[in-house]
Homo-oligomer: 232 residues x 2
DNA sequence: CCCACTTTGTGCGTGGTTTCACAAGCACGT
DNA sequence: ACGTGCTTGTGAAACCACGCACAAAGTGGG
């Protein structure tokens, strides 16, 4: 009885679990940096800000990687989650729209922590094209197809104004980029099989405002820490 | 620990609905700009990228604001959603961490579209303090308490490096800021009653990578591609 | 006034997600 | 070898979200 099965999991990890795996991964990497060797579901859950039962169930979808009475081996779990998320291979990313946000993304070191390589920066503004941002020369949007093909780009990031986003998305789709991260405040229309995720700063603010208003209204319950006073 | 299960919602709107209201609102405002007076749930749902039954159910949580046989009056619905989200009042926002991302946020006009006013920019780096960004003078982080009080800030945005985020959050909480939007890649620990939302760029990328990998694996079909032996 | 047509609001079945609670499993000390 | 203590993995229950399908309610034409 030896043999660790190389592919214990079956296809079909719940979407909610997938969304949490990166959080676990980051918490684990912090533990790893601190030299921790093993961690219990309780401790890891607390670091990740979730319920421990949820964490165990999430991990159980990947396989049985824990040891009862002990916990999980940090390094091994890091590897398993990385592999599941596809971070053991490299992904090339193109960013379109090198305004304030695009620049921030290009310079955001956290991206490349593992697996992601920013391969191409593109913009439509001839005043921006040619500039050097994060060590890359900004190319013209017209060369998108070329940039995608030459660099093997498989993930496209849209950081353009709302008006251009759909057009950029269309061109990404046409050259075969099937994963798009959209920062523009529009709903993108893409064919089946293309995966779009949206990050919308003002939507997050609006959700915060909703809850803040509810707190301020005749709530009856003040924030635990403060003395119920709340001015608007 | 925290034992406060009895408070999912008081008289309220499901969380999933709240998260979609801003999307509807944006679609409605686009219609308004185009001069459209009324819209059917079908049309609005399509513009917002959701199912029309879901949209109707979402709106039904706000009240009965539609007219059967006709649809919804755009302007009226804009007002109702705005009110529900708390956008009829003004929210003052402070941004801490004026690096690339903080700068992008400060300049992001979309914020102020309605209801949100960026009242204060703060940073710890003396090379940044004093600079003018988006028409505001960047203040020193030490003046956070003062800035919050003087401007009536009720929403705090954290765009600092990971290492400083928890500290900034603590200070926000201490001066009574109970709504925090966190861009730093850490899980913030805050007392009950404080609302934290997190936007994490690299997590989004990792989720995309997961799906991209799954597409690549079982590309044509999914079934018995590699169903070998499996022992545990 | 009545009828045909349109669109909302919602009851209900279905499926996914969270949480509890506990048996099963492993390590370690005696 | 065996019991003790701890932690995982997972049934089962509760909860929530989604979408179908249809009755209710309004509009407009004849």
């Amino acid at each position: 009885m030896i043999s660790r099965p190389p592919r214990p999991r079956e296809r079909g990890i719940p979407e909610a679990t997938v969304a949490r795996l990166p959080v676990y991964l980051r918490a684990l990497q912090a533990l790893e940096d601190r030299g921790t060797l093993t961690v219990s579901s309780e401790a890891l859950a607390s670091a990740a800000g979730v319920n421990s039962a949820k964490l165990r169930k999430d991990l159980s979808h990947l396989g049985s990687y824990g040891t009862r009475g002990v916990g999980y081996e940090v390094e091994y779990l890091v590897y398993q989650i990385s592999r599941e998320l596809g971070l053991t291979q490299d992904w090339s990313v193109a960013i379109v729209g090198i305004g304030n946000l695009g620049r921030a993304l290009a310079n955001y070191g956290g991206f490349g922590t593992r697996g992601f390589r920013i391969a191409s920066l593109l913009d439509a503004d001839s005043g921006v094209v040619g500039q050097s941002v994060a060590g890359l020369r900004v190319g013209h949007i017209d060369s998108l197809e070329e940039a995608v093909r030459d660099n093997g780009v498989s993930i496209g990031v849209i950081a353009t104004p709302a008006g251009s986003a759909q057009h950029v998305a269309n061109r990404f789709v046409e050259v075969g980029v099937a994963s798009i991260l959209n920062f523009a405040p529009v709903v993108l229309d893409v064919p089946d099989g293309v995966d779009v995720r949206k990050v919308d700063l003002s939507i997050e603010l609006q959700i915060l405002a909703f809850h803040a208003q509810r707190r301020a209204d005749g709530d009856g319950r003040a924030p635990a820490d403060r003395t119920g006073l709340e001015l608007t």
